[in-house]
Amino acid sequence: MTSPADNGARPRKVVVWQHDQARLQHDVIGLGDVQSDTVYGRLLVRSLTRAQLGLSLMCLSIALAVIASLPVIMALLPRARTVMVVGLPLTLVILGAGIFPMLMAVGWFYNRQASQLEARFIDLVDPVGRRLDA
């Protein structure tokens, strides 16, 4: 049985190739391929690293967009410096405190997504083992 999160990524039966040891042992694409470094295993690992990198770069670009754009914005809008928030300069409020919750939020979001991504990959390549674990 697969959970809805699998999105149809459930292991499929494939044609068995006589010369491929992995195929003889496990006739399903999965952990055996990853362990034995078959063509399928490589594709699986590549898809995993690509998904992980995509997630990381997305989160990184959010954080960098905020951090890297601040100096430019401050340079283009010099009058923003004179804005006072609760009696303190805006620069102090943003750089001294306001930016930190943003960093934590991005990190928290990434951690959640990365764990889910890995859980989905484990489901994909080793559904039996996952059920045994549970």
Partner: protein
Amino acid sequence: MLNVPAVAAIAAVTLLTVAVGARGVRIARTPDDFLVAAREVPPGLNAAAISGEYLSAASFLGIAGLIVSQGLGALWYSVGYTAGYLVLLLLVAAPLRRFGAYTIPDFAEGRFASRGLRRATTALVLVIGWFYLLPQMKGAGITLQPVLGTPYWVGVVALGVVVSANIAMGGMKGVTFVQCFQYWLKLCAIGIPALVLLAATGHGSARNLSPDLQPVFTHRTTLHVQTSTEFKLAGPATVRVTGTLDRARLADQTVHLPAGLHTAGTGAVLTFGSGSPVPASLTMVQPSSTTWDSPFLTAGTDGTHPLLATYGVIIATLFGAIGLPHILVRFYTNPDGGAARRTTLIVVMLLSTFYLFPAVLAVLTRLRAPELYLSKDPDSVVLALPSLLMPGRPGELLGALVAAGAFAAFLSTSSGLLVSVAGALSHDVMRGGVGTFRLCAIIAGTIATVAALPVNRFSLGLLVGWAFAIAASSFWPLIVLGIWWRRLTWVGATAGVLVGGGACCCAIVATMLGAATRSWGAALLGQPAVWTVPLAFSVMIVTSLLTQGSIPPHVEHMMLRMHLPEGLIRRTYRAGRPYTRA
């Protein structure tokens, strides 16, 4: 003039560190235990240990000093130091933990199967490690100076001896627990004084925070000049003087000082009226082209090209953290990649909390104790603040707490650095075991101590920022491309590390020697990360594409090792088969 509470607090911190380190001697049996504590530390504890080791002299004293002297732009250091861990979390934490190397040279050799690259990275570990040790030693020197009333070198030598001896005896097992404790100590030592002083002095008038204004005294203030000081007045002032001022001996006379430079002799007593401009020593004066509320950092004496200098610091601090030799080692005390991610997220939270307080202390200094602008070293501002704002016993105790926290910062960071430097020396240069490691700890500590004696004219923030810049221009591209890019070759990696790290070191040495003090030269050499990091990446990528024949063997196996979730590996082992072909 011996400050008894401060001496007691510093002694307690030091003894505690040594005691737990000594306890580690019994636990640490194998060389492995010596270099990295056993991998059984839960994320919360581990995160506090990482933060404890990371928060150095620059964070504790340097940032507040830079904010006071250079303006709000210095806040970029605290933003960068924290955001660096977010970058680390996103791109390297879990894969690097799974790879299972202890040090950057281990990673280089394991990933690229190249002895040459290992040697290049070892050399850079030594450069960065020693470079980063200098500001810690300087911090100890200026902290003990007012507390013991001793010259600068006494603190430097004291820290060098304590740390070298402790590492030579204890190794890292003890240090893990000490580091964790020291994070909380440092947070209390900066947080409690900040909050107490804030509550005691109140928010009140924020006149000195107003944009574009030079600070003025909010009440009649008497300054006692300890040693002869040249200072700058932003505007004319009427001063009551006893002692030597501008080479004239005066006895309780009122003089009108025009704006500009003046010199007060040793022992002079100056009384400024309310509303009079604050005299600032030359190290506390900003370049005239910028103002205190400017959100940018500057380089050089003329303060031009502020955007370039600001981005230089942002790039160095964002990408330098993982390249620091003592940081990477901490990730192997996580049980697995997922725990490494959780640990890193907690580190971001712990650092965010800590970095709220240097800004509070800096603003309090500007608002309530502008007379500290006459101090000769911006880095000593935080140490002097409590007793100025709260005269008497409470201020003295708060000052002792700050001094103890500062000393904890130097102890923890320099311990971690010394373990890494001594490890690199004993393992790669002298090829020995635990005995050699002990010897190397003493050698490395001695070199750092001697080298730290002449650096007290550079600000802590600047020195630490430079160590980050070297790390960001060499190890950051090596690690991030090594983890994510299959086509990186050992030739490309070596070329990138040497060119990037070398260019950055040259720029910094040129700045230290005073090669460029103005305009573009000052910005590009003083904050080199803005061009050396892209340079290292370009060299690494182009050289790798030209040498595709030397892609390391088993690159797929490496990728598997770094990116495969541990759940799969565990299950594979349980089934009794290795997860890869040999």
